[in-house]
Symmetry: C2
Subunit: 355 residues, 2 copies
Amino acid sequence: MNLKQLAQSLGLSPTTVSRALNGYPEVSEATRARVIEAARRHDYRPNTRAKSLATGRAMSIAHVIPVSNRHEIVNPVFADFIAGAGETYVKAGYEMVLSVVNDGDEARMYQDLRNRGSVDGVIVHGPRAADPRIEMLHRIGLPFVVHGRATGCEVPYSWLDINNRRAFQRATDFLLDLGHRRIGLVNGVEWMDYAIRRRTGYLEALAARGLAVDGNLIYSGEMTETNGYRAARHMLALPDPPTAILTSSMISAIGVRRAAWADGLDLGRDLSLITHDDELSYLRNGDEVPIFTATRSSVRTAGRMTAEMLLGIIASEAEAPQTRLLEADLIIGQSTGPAPAGPHSSGQQPHQEHA
Amino acid sequence: MNLKQLAQSLGLSPTTVSRALNGYPEVSEATRARVIEAARRHDYRPNTRAKSLATGRAMSIAHVIPVSNRHEIVNPVFADFIAGAGETYVKAGYEMVLSVVNDGDEARMYQDLRNRGSVDGVIVHGPRAADPRIEMLHRIGLPFVVHGRATGCEVPYSWLDINNRRAFQRATDFLLDLGHRRIGLVNGVEWMDYAIRRRTGYLEALAARGLAVDGNLIYSGEMTETNGYRAARHMLALPDPPTAILTSSMISAIGVRRAAWADGLDLGRDLSLITHDDELSYLRNGDEVPIFTATRSSVRTAGRMTAEMLLGIIASEAEAPQTRLLEADLIIGQSTGPAPAGPHSSGQQPHQEHA
DNA sequence: TCGCGCCGCCAAAGCGGTTTGGAAAAGCGA
DNA sequence: TCGCTTTTCCAAACCGCTTTGGCGGCGCGA
């Protein structure tokens, strides 16, 4: 059932039916009611393609997810972010198109999305330091919002981010307040912008107390369980091991937990652990009382809000970029406690001779 | 730059240019070359909307992801499945549209997708026993493939699934061969089809050895870390605790591991654990040697193959449904070992008096 | 009663492609 | 040179919707 048929069945012109359905005033309320009722009865839905061809608005937003061939990690945060954004789109009558693209081909993908006219805007995931995508999107004039930021990007752009620096600074401070002095950082890969900011927050907190930085206590790599485990094992085997560790994700925190247990260390007593918790729906940080002390910020909410920002920008055709910085909560769980007084129970002696 | 402009710039008609670009024979090779070169130079991409309006093919596939409000779990498997499917789509020139929908509204969503003509087919996620969606899609005549199956669905349909029953039967058998007799099952929610099949496999293996089923050793619930932990704690506190546990996902396995450690049990020695490993990119089961013994099947590959099936069905307009059953590997990791001889080291005595 | 403005509707021209039905030009055998 | 086929291109219709520009008819004030 298309518009013409519907119009014919009502003895009206397509024009009038279209106007009736789209709420234009040039049609009497009587016929409008009649049209709406008929549309409902026939389950009529305007053809998206035709509509967007006629209006010039695609009514859809692209999310480009880069998938590298080398390390094929799909961002674990992705599903929940999408779920949040999807809620917004559905309310606004937008569709969401997903483009999986081998990274490196992203530039062409954005060009294509624009030239093919298949979307009204895009959301940029996983920005890196000085991410070239931003400059490119700016140039080709496709509305976009970045989830995160890109340090060292000169062009203005819209973004939504959490205050990663502040979050990790606060977490580090919290550990320092508990008496910890050797604090490890198990971070994401260092070209990701959020990882840089978290590292900065960590470093600033140490610096504020005049503490030296130990390169051995900083790890950065893909946020997997295994990497968390390895990094922690390595740190805990140091002559002067950390009494606390900061982690960039629940998943690597779980790896760190495994390493602690392997060394017979009790989390919260022998080793303190703070992680960042994106509130992933399938990886909750406990139910009532959090398992891990964590900096917490819902990535699903972020998805919802980022999408709202983008739709707002598209609707208003605003030139001035919008930005939004969310603060993460610091929630106390069972994985932190005061720094142990002496050498811990792993049986290791500090300052072993093989150092 | 659109077709008309491109044609004008070449001194040709839109017809000829269109034919040249789409490989039709009614155009000389000389002009075809000229057109292709010009298109490349101008970075011309045909407008997707116009094209699909003209051809009647949307060149896009919908993935409907239901998000319930009660328990807002987004399937953790989703991101990787999507990544796999996306690879297929990108190769075939298809787009992927994602519809996030509150479950219950799914029926209407499928109707809409069809009536609005915005997709050529859909992939159905997370089928349940006798899932009504299948019958409905069948009725409205939208091509679809189900990732998984729906026991008790009378209409024929296309699906791709792994052999969940066989996988869990083999895993159970493996544990039985190691001497385990008390084996727990931490399964997904019982209305999900895959959970039913896994349970069946588990029960069949026990039955084949004439072993009785203990309802206390079977848990089913959302596959979260916390649920895995709780279920395992509960089982391990039984008067006659299990010496081995089967788990439906890496995430709940991690919860079980936590419970084991909390009881001072060593995985692989005091307690054996087998999980199902979907090879999620962000949750690998170790690097070289697997952490958990597991039934393994890549959900990303499944995504790729499911998408291929659907595109094949759309292209061939085949009536006969296609099906594909993949076998999971049983891979040996560090979490299994022979059943402990006596009561294990948790300090519990079997057959305690409070039973 | 007449003239004017407004209301309610419609015909037709797009949007940017594909595709049908020719038509001119070129090739070919007699 | 003629007639016929083949090659190469084009004009126009169409996909399903929106939107511009009108056009009758009715109400209203003079």
